[in-house]
């Protein structure tokens, strides 16, 4: 599962689902903006890489996971939060679902120099100032909280006070905000193990090489509820708890200078106004509010 990717240097700064919308905050102007975008799609003026089609990228080759995508890892089912959102945005722009095309883009290459063969990449990518210098991002479509996942047998399940948390061995995927959260907020005394993929971090967790991993709450929920199992297919991990949000949020990734970002932001604003985003979040991500709260360690 591709987890969170990045630093939390850009502060979205609120518990609101969406913050800092560029296009508009009022429903009337949002509606106007989206109407203009729909018109420009109809007249063929919307800047799409493939005319008449919305080309959406995600890390298909490395596997797509619930609750962001459907159970079978196929992005074109409209199941899962990110898949459903991509189709909702398309529909809002007047693009039919059969004109939504998916393409594979690995996380590592999404920010390489050169032109992109997709309109936007939807891959749980956190927005940061550094990244925004190389690529463009849409406004937030999800605000992130970090959580701890550990084996049920690990001491961290019972002992996780602010001081206790410093004494465990953590592992995480490279480039993730989880890793950043460990380094800047938990500040453990032992060296953090940095894995190339979340799979490897999970393998290390299962093998007892690390005590815990820190991932966003939805990802952690899926890991504990379904992904980390023993040979008898029984779950062996648990989500110990989640930390308060540190301002991190996910955005859609665009090639630098792509003007499509304006209309996509208009669609996000429109979907927020209509309540679509809220209902998709409660459908796919709602269970996360039940995860216990953890005491953070102030940076």
């Amino acid at each position: 599962m591709r987890g969170l990717k990045s630093l939390t240097t850009l502060a979205a700064g609120s518990a609101l689902v969406l913050s800092g919308l560029v296009v508009s905050t009022g429903s009337a102007t949002a509606t106007t903006a989206i109407a203009q975008c729909q018109a420009s799609f109809k007249s063929g003026h919307l800047p799409l890489v493939s005319a008449g089609k919305l080309t959406v990228a995600s890390d298909i080759n490395n596997g797509l996971y619930q609750p962001w995508f459907g159970a079978n890892g196929n992005p074109s089912t409209g199941k899962g939060y990110e898949s459903a959102l991509a189709y909702a945005i398309a529909k809002d722009l007047g693009i039919t679902s059969k004109n939504v095309k998916w393409t594979a883009e690995a996380f590592d290459s999404s920010f390489a120099p050169g032109s992109k063969n997709f309109d936007f990449d939807i891959n749980e990518i956190s927005v940061t100032a550094d990244r925004a210098q190389v690529v463009d991002f849409s406004n937030s479509y999800y605000n992130v909280q970090q959580s701890i996942v550990a084996l049920k047998t690990n001491a961290i399940v019972k002992h996780h006070s602010a001081t206790d948390l410093k004494n465990y061995t953590y592992g995480d995927q490279i480039g993730t905000t989880g890793l950043d959260y460990i380094n800047n907020h938990i500040k453990p005394t032992k060296q953090v193990h940095v894995y190339n993929t979340l799979d490897e971090a999970v393998a290390a967790l299962t093998a007892g090489q690390v005590d815990a991993i820190v991932v966003d709450t939805p990802t952690g929920q899926y890991m504990a509820a379904a992904q980390i199992v023993n040979s008898k297919n029984k779950t062996i991990a648990t989500q110990v708890g989640q930390f308060p949000t540190a301002g991190e949020h996910y955005g859609l990734l665009f090639e630098k200078g792509n003007t499509l970002v304006g209309c996509v932001n208009a669609a996000i604003a429109d979907l927020t106004t209509k309540g679509t985003i809220k209902s998709l979040q409660s459908q796919y991500l709602g269970i996360y509010n039940k995860v216990p709260k953890l005491t953070p360690i102030q940076p």
Binding site: I174, N184, A204, A207
Partner: protein, 273 residues
């Protein structure tokens, strides 16, 4: 090489290097690529590290590569020799071990090291078989490098031993030297001299393969560069790591060349009583 030839060859090298630099400088997107791989500011941060942004000092992380390499190299020399020795032994009671050593070298030379790394690094601790499953990732990484490279080096040793003429063995045996003495005093010293260049090749590979152990979560130079790339969307860290590896391998190659030349001179020069 004559003076004219020397001038011609340095001139042609200069032109080729110049063309390559020109190409990178003038390419349509050259400025972006230069920023991506050679950004001076990123270069500096990669050397010093920045804990507040979870960025590592690649220089410090490279220490892990260096000591891993030195430890593994020493172990590989010993295990590789043992394997080659077993394989060449003619003692009947060692026959099963001889077969085992042949299978071992075939298998571990054939499997990509990254797969062995996964099997050892996640498999062994995953078994939860007591002590052996409770080692650190770096121990499993070293074990993997030693397991794999011993197979390579065993074959190099074996080639070296086979290159020693049979007459040498006969001469040693006819002096009443035992198997072990023949190996230690006659075959090995000659075999090692014959295989220094291929051994060196394997050691440079070993050095470079310490960059693979990031797979086990170990933050060595390459993984530190990877962290930087993922955080900052910039690959200058890889350039820093590459330069550090070169700073280690080039002097080592030159020094070995020097040793070989010195040994040759010694054997061909007159000694004094």
């Amino acid at each position: 090489m004559g003076r004219r030839a020397a001038v011609a060859s340095s001139l042609s090298s200069a032109i080729i290097v110049g063309l390559i630099i020109w190409f990178f400088w003038r390419a349509p997107n050259g400025a972006n690529v230069r920023h991506f791989f050679l950004d001076p500011h990123s270069f500096w941060i990669n050397l010093t590290g920045d804990p507040s942004r979870s960025l590592y000092s690649i220089l410090r992380c490279f220490e892990t590569n260096v000591w891993m390499f030195m430890l593994c190299e020493a172990l590989v020399l010993i295990f590789g020799l043992g394997l080659a020795w077993l394989r060449l032994s003619r003692t009947p009671i060692l026959a099963p071990l001889r077969v085992a050593s042949a299978i071992y070298t075939d298998v571990f030379r054939g499997i990509p090291i990254i797969l062995v790394l996964f099997a050892v690094g996640y498999g062994v601790p995953g078994m939860q078989a007591g002590w052996i499953s409770q080692r650190t990732p770096i121990t499993y990484a070293c074990a993997t490098l030693v397991i794999t490279y011993s197979a390579y080096v065993a074959e190099v040793y074996r080639a070296g031993m086979n290159s020693v003429p049979n007459g040498q063995v006969m001469a040693a045996r006819s002096l009443g030297l035992s198997d072990v003495q023949t190996m230690r005093r006659v075959i090995l010293p000659q075999a090692v001299r014959n295989v220094v260049p291929p051994l060196l090749n394997d050691f440079i590979s070993l050095q470079k393969d310490t960059a693979l152990v990031g797979t086990l979560g170990i933050v060595e130079a390459n993984q530190a560069a990877h962290v930087f790339g993922a955080m900052e969307f910039n690959y200058t860290g890889y350039t820093v790591a590459a330069l550090l590896f070169l700073a280690l391998t080039i002097p080592m190659t030159r020094y070995t060349d020097h040793l070989i030349a010195k040994d040759r001179r010694r054997r061909l020069a007159g000694g004094t009583v």
